[in-house]
């Protein structure tokens, strides 16, 4: 020590003292001048000598508390710094507050930054507490408020508006939020940022609504209101009247405004919030009433028969006319109920200006077509049909590899077929294999019939006709299984847009006492009336429930939940009461899930109910509680929900509850897919197979459609798990993650497909694993390879239908037919450009990426099929097996090598795109040179409307310069309204392949007369249903 003491001065030239003891001693002097001097000097060197000073901290405290001492604040600042160094942040903050103006928030030091952060944290905590608790809180420390405000003002003056917005949001200071936004230099960008942040960061629903209200206010006051975003906000706020007012105003404007109105409607539709959309639609004035001059509005609507209404809208497209008819009828009934709305029409129509009423009516009709879902669903259907690339050979191979007598696998193939062709209306596979199909009996027949609903999903006009062969004709019913299945199928076809089918399903439900038909009808009704909270339907479902029959009751429970999604109505209490009463586990389970659906998206509001369920004696109700947590906190990544779920995942005594708790994590985390694998990583290694299964599914749910490597890393070992159902879950989850991924982007796709083939062909694989593999194959190629699984829309809001669909899908563990609910999560990955008449004009966009990055997987060739067959025959003796293994290894290695090369190529390609405009050739040389024989791939491709644009591709898609059309929104995906820059010239429309020809050619004669007639009347190109197959009981 002596050496150090001596050496120091010479090194540093007396710049630093070796101890602060002298100064500390000076604090005891009687002269206050000396004390102040000592304080000042100590403050200068505190960062180095805090350890020495901390021993004398009591002196500083005494000085601070001495009212007579003039530099108390300096003492406080010093004490604060010492406490900061000691890690006592609370104490430090107290003294920093005591230091008053001496505590300089603009200082760059670590101390100040840490304390300001601490300060804001404390402020946030206190203000949140003050906001949330009912009882009166003591007023906040004004000094604390002063510091936070100083900090906020500093952010604003420094131009760090995003920071200011963040802090203001956390502190619940709407006034500051407003100030930050209005003072910023780029108001629209900041508004958009706030909107996004408010969805992701603001945990409390009520406060989020306040923020949204503020945003709407700011949006409307800004120079050029951004109607798309305003309407998004209003939708979150559930304010249909506001949206209706804006839409009406836009429709009355010039043609650009009308386009904007359509765009708004399409964007709202993407969130699939049926109840809200219908409310908006019903609030819009009815133009046809006015078009018929002389009639008072309400009467006009009432007296106009549907057909007449359709003619009034003179040039509505042929395909929309049927929709219009149905709609007009609906509107009439809406009128009757709501005379207030009718009255409001009179002034509304006055704002028209010089716009002809006919044009207005026409626009309004189109707008309503969009809002009711008819138009977008129809467009999506056309897209899926015309671009269907499902590979029948995949199914054929699976069918060949699986033992025909295994009914579970047989069923699984039918499910896989349904998912693979979801929404494409292509039922060729079923037609080609009628005899094979006829092996389905009983409930398998039910789900085989229901599968048609998935295939024809969205085929709204023809749904009834398609299913007619399976429904009772002239009062004569066929098999109850196919009838029930058909009702379920109708629900799937009309899922979330079931206004036209509701009545029929309700009648079917009332006319039967057969529990199988009831089962189908309940599910169908729930799907068709999703989220409408219709009292009448609820009562009917309840009466089914009270018959206390297991199958019907289960479906009724789920149906009730679907009907009341997100309503948080007190009906949940009734359902819970009955769940306690009944003896049937199936009914309890159905009700438990139903209750969970009722509290969808209610977050804190649902906590009482969740608490009640999670504390129940009955494990099935606790299991429902897990679902309730998942639904209430879907896509919020809410910490408290995650904590609760993790707690149940490790502590509940029931395996079912634990499995569900882990799975529910997937729902809560689906807004942050990157987080999910990390959180469930440990659970995936649990000794309990149920927990492992849950972990696999959680990752599948949260990371669906992302192709995340972290997710695949977690799932890969689970695919080889010793427990069969874990393998099953892992396979399905992997398929969900890898959906629409290409080998060029994610080389593991190829390996996974191969693994699926192996599992399906393996004689020693258990049925469960095989079934998982078959379903996984279906999911991987879902919707003709043109859909992805999307639980959230592009505006980062949760898609109610999709999340609900996913939740019910996970129930297939108990009841296979529920697997079809997965089709609700499918979202077509399309870019559909539309003109003012909502038609698709011919349009080309460029995708600035190598085509192979986003291409469809290559179709299987027959040669490969042989290869697959060879493998099992070779496994005769151990030597042969070893040989094959060696061969396979070699092949795999070669394959891997190829993949690696491709990967390099892909990377190179990406780099180039990032450079954009740099010398592309140079970069290309290295990786591409290796693949001499492979032709050089173009750097971009041209896509034509409607284009398949998978989510990862969106950022590469551009509208070419000098094109005739200009898009109305920046993101090149989904439905994009196009502004015609050369309105005079004739437009070339995309020839619309109605989803038909093939079917019509195949078997028009086979279709029963009733169905055929109906189909022909409306649209000649519609496909008739597949032949009603004969069911041969074995």
């Amino acid at each position: 020590m002596a050496a150090v003491a001596v050496a120091r001065p010479s090194e540093h030239g007396f710049s630093q003292p070796t101890s602060s003891a002298g100064l500390l001693a000076m604090l005891d002097e009687d002269e206050s001048v000396l004390q102040v001097y000592a304080l000042k000097q100590l403050n200068r060197i505190v960062d180095e000598f805090w350890a020495e000073i901390s021993a004398e901290i009591s002196k500083l405290e005494a000085l601070y508390e001495d009212e007579g001492f003039e530099e108390r604040e300096l003492a406080a600042l010093l004490a604060s710094k010492v406490f900061y160094h000691l890690g006592e942040l609370d104490e430090s903050l107290t003294y920093a507050l005591g230091a008053g103006p001496l505590f300089d928030v603009s200082e760059e030091s670590e101390y100040v930054q840490t304390l300001v952060a601490k300060c804001i944290d404390q402020y946030v905590e206190l203000s949140v507490k003050a906001n949330e608790s009912k009882e009166k809180q003591p007023p906040l420390d004004t000094r604390l408020v002063a510091i936070v405000e100083r900090m906020l003002n500093k952010c604003i003056t420094d131009g760090q508006y995003q920071q200011a917005v963040g802090i203001a949001l956390e502190c619940r200071r709407l006034d500051k939020l407003e100030e930050a936004i209005t003072k910023s230099d780029d108001v629209p960008a900041l508004l958009a940022y706030t909107l996004r942040v408010s969805q992701t960061l603001v945990n409390r629903r009520e406060f989020r609504h306040e923020v949204l209200r503020t945003l709407v206010k700011l949006y409307t006051h800004s120079g050029s209101p951004d109607y798309i975003n305003i309407c998004q906000c209003l939708m979150f706020l559930d304010d249909p009247a506001g949206v209706a007012a804006i839409l009406d105003k836009l429709v009355k404007g010039d043609s650009d405004d009308a386009l904007l109105a359509y765009q708004v409607a399409f964007d709202l539709f993407e969130n699939e919030f049926q109840q809200f959309l219908l409310n908006v639609r019903d609030r819009l004035p009815d133009p046809r009433g006015h078009a018929e001059a002389g009639h008072p509005p309400a009467e006009g609507a009432e007296s106009t028969p549907p057909a007449e209404g359709a003619t009034a809208a003179a040039d509505a497209t042929a395909s929309a006319s049927a929709a219009l008819a149905a709609e007009a009828k609906d509107e009439a009934s809406a009128m009757e109920e709501d005379t207030g709305a009718a009255e409001s029409h009179a002034p509304a129509i006055e704002g028209l200006g010089d716009l002809p009423i006919a044009t207005y009516a026409e626009r309004m009709t189109r707008l309503k077509g969009v809002l009711s879902g008819e138009t977008p669903i129809n467009l999506a259907l056309q897209f899926l049909y015309s671009r269907n690339r499902a590979d029948l050979l995949v199914l054929k191979n699976i069918k060949g590899a699986v033992d025909v007598r295994n009914s579970v696998c047989h069923g699984a193939i039918i499910y896989a077929n349904g998912l693979m062709h979801a929404g494409t209306t292509v039922d060729t596979f079923l037609r080609e294999n009628l005899e094979w199909l006829s092996r389905s009996t009983n409930w398998a027949k039910f789900s085989a019939t229901a599968g048609l609903g998935v295939i024809h999903r969205g085929h709204l006009q023809q749904g009834r006709a398609l299913m007619a062969p399976y429904l009772p004709q002239n009062g004569v019913s066929g098999s109850p299984y196919s009838e029930g299945g058909a009702l379920y199928a109708l629900g799937l076809i009309h899922a979330n847009h079931g206004e036209s089918i509701k009545t029929f399903l309700l009648e079917s439900l009332r006319n039967t006492t057969n529990e199988i038909i009831q089962h189908g009808a309940c599910l169908g009704l729930g799907l068709a009336a999703l989220g409408t909270a219709n009292e009448e339907i609820f009562e009917d479902l309840k009466s089914v429930l009270f018959t206390d029959s297991a199958n019907a009751g289960e479906a009724a429970g789920i149906g009730m939940g679907l009907l009341m999604v997100g309503s948080a109505s007190e009906k949940a209490g009734e359902m819970l009461a009955y769940a306690h009463e009944t003896q049937h586990e199936k009914i309890i389970r159905g009700l438990a899930l139903g209750i969970a659906l009722v509290v969808y998206g209610r977050e804190e509001e649902a906590d009482t109910l969740i608490e009640q369920m999670t504390r129940d004696q009955d494990p099935i109700l606790r299991y429902g509680g897990m679902y309730a947590l998942a639904m209430a906190y879907r896509a919020t990544a809410n910490n408290s929900a995650i904590r609760r779920l993790l707690h149940f995942a490790v502590s509940d005594v029931s395996d079912d509850v634990r499995r569900t708790a882990v799975m529910a994590l997937g729902f809560v985390l689906c807004s942050e897919p990157e987080q999910c694998p990390r959180i469930v990583a440990l659970l995936a290694e649990s000794y309990n197979p149920h927990v492992r299964y849950g972990a696999a599914m959680a990752v599948g749910i949260a990371c669906a459609g992302t192709g995340l490597t972290a997710a695949l890393d977690l799932l890969e070992p689970l695919q080889k798990d010793p427990t069969d159902f874990v393998r099953q879950g892992a396979l399905i989850a992997t398929a969900m993650v890898l959906i629409q991924e290409t080998e060029a982007r994610q080389p593991r796709v190829a390996a996974f497909r191969k693994h699926l083939d192996k599992v399906i062909g393996d004689k020693h694989e258990e049925t469960m694993g095989k079934m998982g593999a078959i379903l996984a194959a279906g999911i991987l190629d879902a919707g003709g390879r043109n859909v992805t699984i999307a639980l959230r829309s592009r505006s980062e809001h949760d898609r109610v239908t999709a999340v609900v669909g996913m939740a019910v899908f996970t129930q297939w563990w108990y009841w296979y037919p529920l697997a079809y609910f997965l089709s609700l999560t499918f979202a077509p990955t399309a870019l559909i450009g539309l003109n003012g008449a909502l038609q698709m004009p011919r349009l080309e966009v460029t995708s600035a990426a190598r085509p192979s990055l986003f291409a469809y997987p290559a179709p299987l060739s027959d040669k490969k099929e042989e290869e697959v067959k060879k493998v099992p025959t070779a496994q005769l003796s151990t030597t042969a097996r070893a040989k094959t293994k060696a061969k396979k290894d070699a092949a795999e290695k070669a394959e891997k090598g190829k993949e690696a090369i491709e990967k390099v190529g892909a990377k190179g390609g990406k780099k180039e795109e990032e450079k954009e405009g740099g010398d592309a050739m140079e970069v290309e040389k290295e990786p591409e040179a290796k693949k001499v024989k492979k032709e050089k791939e173009p750097e971009s491709e041209v896509l034509s409307n409607p284009a398949r644009v998978i989510p990862a591709q969106e950022k590469y898609v551009r509208f070419p310069e000098g094109s005739r059309y200009a898009p109305l929104k920046k993101v090149a995906a989904g439905w994009v309204l196009l502004k015609d820059l050369k309105p005079g010239e004739p437009e070339e429309l995309v020839s619309q392949h109605a989803p038909a020809e093939q079917g019509a050619a195949a078997a028009p004669a086979a279709a029963p007369a009733a169905a055929g007639g109906a189909a022909a009347a409306a649209d000649e190109d519609e496909p008739p249903p597949p032949e009603p197959f004969e069911f041969v009981p074995q």
Partner: protein, 265 residues
């Protein structure tokens, strides 16, 4: 600055003369003024700025504080001594290379060592000792302190008492007298452990006290009983040690571990 230094120099002159004449009040007054003035000098600790008058400033500051230390000895103010010495110390430690050592350095360092002995702060005593360059150990002031400490440690209390006769400086008398009390406390502490009881006469001799009354007072201070002409030492209750095992807490903890182990994922 120059002027400030000159004025301070004058004040120092005043301080010197009043210290010589033993006028404590006047010293105190001068010191107060000087110290306030010294806060204006940037070359002094803890700033150590290199000013043209750096050496003068440092020497002046050092001398002022040396007088301050010596004054506290005169006033028999132990706490004050410590305070002043701590302020003086940076001059001795940090300025060794820039100004010639002070003639009073060893005297004051020795005093400080003695103070630490008196306060029974042996560890600090040794720390301080290590900081003193070994060349200075032979100085009579330092050596005196070292020897005293050795005698104390050995328990050769008689030697300690004898050392009162050969003080290196008159100012040492104050602390050495105080040392007697420290020694007595040491002895008392040992006696408590060593004996159950002790006759008054023995105690008087051992504790270096003069009269029986003094023994009685001392015993009262340490909470001893005096019965039948003997001192009875209270045994400190030894059994208390085992009482503090938190058995209840340990049991719950162990049970908790067992439960958690069962439900480990």
């Amino acid at each position: 600055m120059e002027r400030g230094l000159a004025e301070a120099g004058k004040l120092l002159q005043g301080l010197r003369s009043s210290f010589q004449s033993g006028d404590v009040a006047s010293c105190q007054q001068h010191l107060g003024q000087l110290k306030i003035r010294m806060t204006q000098f940037p070359a002094l600790p803890p700033l150590f700025q290199k000013t043209p008058t750096q050496k003068e400033e440092l020497s002046l500051g050092r001398e002022v504080l040396e007088y301050a230390v010596l004054l506290t000895v005169k006033k028999e103010d132990e706490a004050g001594f410590e305070r002043q010495f701590l302020q003086l110390k940076p001059y001795y430690v940090d300025t060794r290379n820039s100004i010639p050592p002070s003639s009073r350095e060893q005297l004051i360092t020795g005093l400080n060592l003695l103070r630490l002995l008196v306060q029974n702060r042996i560890s600090e005593f040794h720390t301080e000792l290590e900081l003193i360059p070994s060349a200075q150990h032979s100085s009579p002031f330092i050596r005196y302190a070292i020897e005293l400490e050795q005698s104390l440690m050995e328990g050769a209390y008689q030697k300690v008492l004898n050392s009162r006769t050969n003080l290196p400086d008159q100012s040492y008398a104050f602390f050495v007298n105080l040392l007697l009390d420290t020694v007595r406390d040491e002895i008392a502490g040992c006696s408590e452990k060593a004996y159950d009881f002790l006759s008054l006469a023995e105690a008087k001799k051992m504790m270096l006290l003069k009269t029986d009354q003094e023994v009685a007072d001392f015993a009262g201070m340490r909470d001893w009983d005096i019965k039948n002409g003997s001192i009875y030492f209270r045994k400190i209750n030894e059994e208390a040690i085992s009482k503090d095992i938190p058995s209840h807490q340990l049991i719950t903890q162990t049970l908790g571990y067992a439960r958690e182990l069962e439900r480990i994922v």
